[in-house]
Symmetry: D2
Amino acid sequence: MIVVMDLHVGEKELQAVENVLQQYGYRCHLIRGEQRIVIGAVGATKGEIPPVLETMPGVEKVLRVMQPYKLVSREMKPDDTVIRTGSVCLGGGYVSVLAGPCAVESLEQLITAAREVKKYGAAALRGGAFKPRTSPYAFQGLMETGLEYLRRAREETGLAVVTEVMNPADVELVAETADIIQIGARNMQNFPLLKEVGQLRRPVLLKRGLAATVEEWLMAAEYIMSGGNYQVILCERGIRTFETSTRNTLDVSAIAVAKRLSHLPVIADPSHAGGNWRLVQPLALASLAAGADGLLVEVHPDPQSALCDGPQSLNPQHFGELMAAVEGLVALLGKKLVRGVERQ
Amino acid sequence: MIVVMDLHVGEKELQAVENVLQQYGYRCHLIRGEQRIVIGAVGATKGEIPPVLETMPGVEKVLRVMQPYKLVSREMKPDDTVIRTGSVCLGGGYVSVLAGPCAVESLEQLITAAREVKKYGAAALRGGAFKPRTSPYAFQGLMETGLEYLRRAREETGLAVVTEVMNPADVELVAETADIIQIGARNMQNFPLLKEVGQLRRPVLLKRGLAATVEEWLMAAEYIMSGGNYQVILCERGIRTFETSTRNTLDVSAIAVAKRLSHLPVIADPSHAGGNWRLVQPLALASLAAGADGLLVEVHPDPQSALCDGPQSLNPQHFGELMAAVEGLVALLGKKLVRGVERQ
Amino acid sequence: MIVVMDLHVGEKELQAVENVLQQYGYRCHLIRGEQRIVIGAVGATKGEIPPVLETMPGVEKVLRVMQPYKLVSREMKPDDTVIRTGSVCLGGGYVSVLAGPCAVESLEQLITAAREVKKYGAAALRGGAFKPRTSPYAFQGLMETGLEYLRRAREETGLAVVTEVMNPADVELVAETADIIQIGARNMQNFPLLKEVGQLRRPVLLKRGLAATVEEWLMAAEYIMSGGNYQVILCERGIRTFETSTRNTLDVSAIAVAKRLSHLPVIADPSHAGGNWRLVQPLALASLAAGADGLLVEVHPDPQSALCDGPQSLNPQHFGELMAAVEGLVALLGKKLVRGVERQ
Amino acid sequence: MIVVMDLHVGEKELQAVENVLQQYGYRCHLIRGEQRIVIGAVGATKGEIPPVLETMPGVEKVLRVMQPYKLVSREMKPDDTVIRTGSVCLGGGYVSVLAGPCAVESLEQLITAAREVKKYGAAALRGGAFKPRTSPYAFQGLMETGLEYLRRAREETGLAVVTEVMNPADVELVAETADIIQIGARNMQNFPLLKEVGQLRRPVLLKRGLAATVEEWLMAAEYIMSGGNYQVILCERGIRTFETSTRNTLDVSAIAVAKRLSHLPVIADPSHAGGNWRLVQPLALASLAAGADGLLVEVHPDPQSALCDGPQSLNPQHFGELMAAVEGLVALLGKKLVRGVERQ
């Protein structure tokens, strides 16, 4: 850690800062420049930044040299984490596509969707039973019944099931059904929820928050891993910017950066990012080209009758076209596409 | 609602769109322009937008004419909602300042803080028992013990108590202590939590999310109100932008806009917005000048020893200076500052 | 155009609005809803929105149905514009890579760069003679001498030359040398400059501004085209967001959206977007996968000695690796990569 | 400057970095931590950061300790700069309001506006003769004729005149008329223009760019000052964020921050920030409360007939109400409002 201080600070203030640093286990190196005094602080094993520092007299800024996360870091674990569950395999050169409707609407809708996405090569079925909706008056999901339908669809097709949990109290219930538990973008910093899924030993798909930096996203993953659950899948789904021609702005750079900083698999959700089914294919391919290990795609047997997110859902035929393009690109990139059908 | 359609759409597609609109209770008015066909849809009492619309062939865009919120709207209730609890009075010309430490750290720290903020005119004591922290390794709050200390501080000073809840499972517990329940910025769209506090009959202080539009903020308040809890206090605390010289960007325009659109009281949190105690006074005064009905301010008896947010906490002396400036401005604006001490 | 009015507006106000619309050539269709009155205005050939409208009593909002641009629009010209100059061919299935140093630093540096980028398949040489720098104390470019070196490099290698102009007064001078004139991101709305290059009959590479919407970007292109210069190349180079782990946020969705809305070729600048040479390849591939017609890449013979943008410049070897990957992807996407060497 | 290096870097790489630093005049202090090596570099009078540094092997990041601007800095000049011209006085406790129409439309419109704003206490008349417009088809200003009308209005009322220049070639022409030359937000980093106005000895009003950080804004002012023109007025006019309920987001924190970092006067433009005349008063008062030294306000004798920005223009009556509120607030803040009429 580097502490930058005013050149004209008194010896007493300087000593006070050094004392605090020493209490936290740091050794101090003092450098007197022409316009500032700089203290280089090293040697504290925990690397904690004393909260008091920035408020002390004479301190201008505190610059962190180290990253604040540990377990998610590629420095800690240089090799890619590969996450395998049922038909899904993500990371370390394996690519899976998780597809299905935004919301579970009926048994028939879900089974049809599952069969269609399996036919074209999806490795898992996604579908929301508990839906976060901006309006209290909008459809909130089928809840327990939705979970039951997901289990039925898994029995029917053998596809692993991905579904979202919003309430820490529902984690146990959802974990009975879900092969992969999804934490939505709005809950990326719902810390009680992160702690709860950190207690599971089951993969967690962690969406990046709309306004979360890559560092905060990795810190959210660190919450889950610090609970002992090392199976975290990072999912970029677009950030909020000034641009209004798309629902969100897909941040492909974040995929590349997260892959460099962390060993965890990173996937992309082109459906929520663009908010328009016509953008799904270009954004899906862009994500893979930037290094993504997989995709989360909204597919609905009949997008026009969807209770939510219809405009951004592919129909099965368009999903088939997407998968053909994905297959070519994955091969070109020297990776392997894992299809649900192959692993049953 | 306005549906914009391609000029070259067939009669069959046009009819299909009209059918859907009629199913939702709309009457359709067709306008054929030079380059587009426009359908004006009116008369549906619920005003719901059929999710299917945007996906139908020939539909280019769907423009909403009405606001999506009802109970929070000033159209629904033209007069200001005034929220009174214990020493606090907010809205309708009354201004209150809620002040105290970021986190409850010890009984002594809290009681000292409570006495100091009361002395200078705060109407309520704020203090976190459950703390949302970016890092799993940072101090997470004293939890139940923190709530106990808050009760002790209220007994001692008579100040109403504001504290945050993060987990729906803790709402009942926190509501036993809190006079005002705080929902933090990261939880603005934590819908299970909003629904839970919507069941209370106790004021809720709802912070705006870092990347939430004013409309989403009002929709979050609508969640609470739709549960039957009409006592919602909106709190602007800075949004996330590209600017890095402050922790967040205080959006004073949002205060003015929210006051126009809604009857609910709106307050500001200049401490989190600026992230620097030196910015608290200018941002506090700016918020009041823009129309805020109150302030939420971090005050710590000894900011240098604070376990969190020390750099943005005022010490009691600076808080005294702030309150003197606030008092002058509130009077100039023709409003009334309510001091805790006066109402006991 | 749609004008939304208060339900309780008087007949006089309503009439006033209709009069204004009629003056602009619109025919009005009045729709009285339960809570609003809506006027659908059609038939004005110019489609201009009367500036007064939004200020008239009773008017709540004015919704535009049509796009504000014409010449850039794909509605106007459904087929892709293909821009050909010297060795470059962009659009309509042709992909070119324009590469070279951020700044022209010396004749030797430029000639070496030109030979290297040509060797690996670049279609044009980029290099700045006039440099926009944040600090007045930083290197500002070699100016006229830089232009001379660019001409020498073209003679030597046959590559077309891309270089930036910042001052309207320099347009004529720069156009004597440049095969493609670049307008930088900071000048995207420098209207006198846009008008000046609109008078040329030479391709203009128009970078998207850091905070420009896709619509504003297209309107800037419209400025150039409205002057009679139809050869505009759009270049996405990253927008400014809250994320700080990359220099800017490459907006691949904007590439896909601009391709849908406009017939003009769209390229990407992965060097400025990421600000880090390690990100150039993933971002370049992502851009092409999203539909880009070309790339603008910074390559320096010796990035460590670069006078500007060294951290984001590729060395020739890495550029060679990039081009190999680009070639494979372009073929997979069914497009044709145009190499400078092939067209001489 | 601090250079953070990989712990496992070889002595050769380390030596190379030190050599570069020494070439730039730095003395190096090496600190070996547990996980990183840190080099503290001090003593270079120019404080320049070698561009090569970030690309050298083993270098992880380069942290700047000093600010990159000099002449604008309050460290360099602790006392407020006070800018006086004709009726205007800004900074050092003096507050002026500059008001008038967005665009000069006719002699009559301008003279009427000038009389009205003078009547209510404006210190200067604003009005655009050269207008930056998003669309090439929109009204572009009266140009030379507009400048003539501005001179006529000054003769008539004695008010100083503020008007914008966009083209470096027009600077001389505009400077013949303008008492204060305005640089618009879109031109904040139009470096040829900044250099040109840096040659004047006449106040320049420099608007903050839509996506400019406070640091970049100050660097733009540094461009002007480095040319020898020390009379720069900074003007906050709203930044671009995700929020769409206002035209831009007024950043009052930036006013407070800029006042701390620089000695230059800072004013605010509440008209462009909010984009709605109803927001002008709350945003104007908020800006002053945050520390602004003045206001730039759009006032039109008849906003409904305005050729541009009508929706955000005050009519004279509302401007009168604003000025009454401003006068009270300025007095409360212990500053002095300078009225044009008083100084003639």
